[in-house]
Amino acid sequence: MTETVAHLTVDGAPADLAGMPDDERLLDTLRWRLGRKGTKEGCRTGDCGACTVLVDGRSTLACLTLTREVDGSDVTTIDGAARDAELSRVTRAFAEAGALQCGYCTPGFVVALAGLLKERGRAAPLEELLDGLQGNLCRCTGYAAIVRGVALAREEAP
């Protein structure tokens, strides 16, 4: 049924997607097919943001995306944080702010914020960045430390 092999670059490397079924979700491709488990599954219904990755630089819910629908794209996940300036910056800021407890939501927050900084620039108002993170849920921190992490990521020298 699969006419062609889909092509995806994941964190800088071409992904081997030979034999992938048409209905596979990007989240499963990343975690199970490619073994990249930094991207988390929380709800699988679009509600929690734990599965957020960047598709051509734009934050995307991997649980609600068919891998074939993003054929030809450049996918960046938390596993590629070291090779992406915005992701590294946000990771450092979150670590410094202690913006996590169990850490399950953290990859989603870091990737979503990195995406916002790419879209809106580092000078974007804090309010706009926080508004843009409304789709990410955390069950542990009470958010105060995460808000500090966002403020740090914004202010930290480039």
Partner: protein, 292 residues
């Protein structure tokens, strides 16, 4: 590859991505036996597939169709069916000339959701609590359809029937949505959580400067978002007086389509609708009886 969601060897459906509108229509028609469904952003469809509500043999992707467009022509806005909502939200002219539409788009899900979700998909799903349908109703928007028997234009009010029910014929697709004129407008909602939650009730208001009349729509309960023409008439032909606004809010609270369900009681919704209407109308900028 183990675990609850490890990839399966046999896919539940075949995915095709036609490069032309004609092929897309043919692909939808040709699967009459097992059923075919279009996919745009997939943010509604994939949930319907997961809970088994839909089980098509073929899913027809619209991603290669040239419909990710946004055009202003003679004051009218035309939005291509597959334009991601985030791009609609990022258009400065939309925010300036149709502020209510901007607010409604901004209210949908989260940023990551809006990077994939589309206007065509929102209309295709036709949810009673859609944030976009009430605003499109208040803006007198029309839907441009293309199908096996050609093209047609349908007012949103006729297109939307009930939850998951629209005027789409077999093989027909939404190509674009047309908003006829810029309108001072506002969209307000009440939810438990601001993001990724469904409105208990939402109110869309818009004023047509040309025809000097208001349009009011409510959403949040079955069977579908609805226009409230009598309430709109109470507001008169410009900036309403306090008395007119109070009368309109009272009438809106008594309006027929308001019902209770698990998300909010009827009583709570009746109170809310008047409050949101009052705030929304006041949010529409007027000066000396003329819209700004």
């Amino acid at each position: 590859m183990e675990g609850p969601h490890a990839p399966r060897a046999v896919p539940g459906f075949e995915l095709v991505a036609p490069a032309s509108v004609e092929e897309a229509i043919a692909a939808l028609r040709a699967a009459d036996d097992g059923g075919a469904t279009a996919i745009a952003g997939g943010t509604d469809l994939l949930l319907d597939l997961d809970d088994g509500r839909l089980a098509p043999r073929r899913v027809v992707s619209l991603r290669r169709l040239p419909w990710r467009t946004l055009d202003w022509l003679d004051g009218a806005l035309t939005v291509g069916a597959t334009l991601p909502l985030r791009s609609l939200e990022d258009d400065r002219e939309v925010r300036r000339r149709l502020p209510g539409l901007w607010q409604a788009v901004h209210a949908v899900g989260s940023v990551a959701l809006r990077h994939r979700a589309t206007l065509g998909g929102n209309l295709g799903r036709s949810a009673p609590a859609s944030d976009l349908i009430p605003m499109l109703l208040a803006l007198d928007a029309e839907v441009d359809l293309v199908g096996p028997r050609g093209e047609r234009r349908v007012p949103v009010d006729d297109f939307v029937r009930a939850s998951r029910r629209t005027a789409l014929l077999p093989g027909e697709l939404i190509r674009s949505v047309r908003v006829p004129e810029p309108r001072p407008s506002a969209y307000l909602w009440q939810r438990v959580r601001p993001a990724n939650d469904i409105s208990q009730i939402a109110v869309a208001v818009a004023f047509s400067p040309g025809r000097r009349h208001w349009s009011i729509a409510v959403a949040g309960m079955p069977p579908r978002p609805a226009l409230l023409p009598d309430v709109a008439r109470d507001l008169g032909d410009g900036a309403p007086s306090d008395a007119a606004l109070t009368a309109a809010a009272a009438r809106a609270s008594r309006a027929v389509p308001i019902t209770g369900d698990q998300r909010a009681s009827e009583e709570y919704r009746r109170r809310l609708v008047g409050t949101l209407l009052t705030r929304a109308v006041r949010a529409v900028p007027f000066e000396g009886g003329r819209p700004l």
